[in-house]
Symmetry: C3
Subunit: 142 residues, 3 copies
Amino acid sequence: MGQATTFTLEVPTRNRCEFVDVTRRVQAVVDQAVADWAGVDTGTVICYVPHTTAGITIQENADPDVVHDVLWKLEQLIPKNEHAYRHAEGNTDSHIKASMMGSSVTVLVSGGKLVFGTWQGIYFTEFDGPRTRRMIVKIIAD
Amino acid sequence: MGQATTFTLEVPTRNRCEFVDVTRRVQAVVDQAVADWAGVDTGTVICYVPHTTAGITIQENADPDVVHDVLWKLEQLIPKNEHAYRHAEGNTDSHIKASMMGSSVTVLVSGGKLVFGTWQGIYFTEFDGPRTRRMIVKIIAD
Amino acid sequence: MGQATTFTLEVPTRNRCEFVDVTRRVQAVVDQAVADWAGVDTGTVICYVPHTTAGITIQENADPDVVHDVLWKLEQLIPKNEHAYRHAEGNTDSHIKASMMGSSVTVLVSGGKLVFGTWQGIYFTEFDGPRTRRMIVKIIAD
């Protein structure tokens, strides 16, 4: 049987819609797991969001304008208010945006490091903040 | 080597576009797997849809208006008929909606239970029904 | 501990936006892994794209018109140029399309074969080509 470790991180958000870069925090969790694995440094990480008005995605973390533009476009496609929405809480758009981004990302680990391209980072995608959110990070050794 | 079990569920759908809550059925499959695992009650579940005009997503299962609104908005963004569509079967929109939701979700299992936030459920997302569909549920013990 | 193997594939693309069918190449990698696994022929495959302007999805691979229509609709929803985009590289749309498709797909393996419905295939989704891209395929035995 393999080795698996699960951590829960708190993610405070400050705006209604916001991409929070959690890459360093996920890598820190991987560092901790690998230290416990007695020599194993490859595996798989699942970052899971237990919310329905927030999601998670991998995006460029070099130029903050990318995230600005993604948020702007999502708002254009899925505005907060639409005449046909029935959900009384007024956050239907948050639910739709969350489903489009998805509730989990899977990232590989090699040599103790998250396997990324040059500009990739993991973003917690808040669509109904500000709130204190949670993200669950599970690391499974090969 | 870990323990893994795979189950195939039939999912009958009744409308062209419909979100079918399959949460209880997935939990029942987890219960069965955990009963076979001799004491192991943590793991990972992959729910996989072997279709290209249906998908799967995690959404709120408390207020049915949320699902109504998501379906309405998807139809606004991706209507059934567009002049430029070439695919002769008339279900191009179903394919696009399916790719936007995705073909699988990954959910964690802890203490024998699917790890969910308060309002989360798993929805099979039909976009070209009614049909009898299939969903494959794989449970991997830690 | 289970067995896991990781392969990196080069994916050359020829257009700015293009769906490249990589199904056969992923199956070939699975064949190679299974041959090394001494009798194990079930598992899970993660196809991971280490880029932020390309993604990956599962779609119909029977009628090429489906892919044509998906690309057309994505362009309608998320055109290359929008007045509000700030990202100076002019590929904001590529980033958004990539997040909508997602950076990985998970596929099950049974009897040494990718578990697919009749018409399913894996597509590398290029949104800022042509380029020589990479895709990482990880196969985890049960």
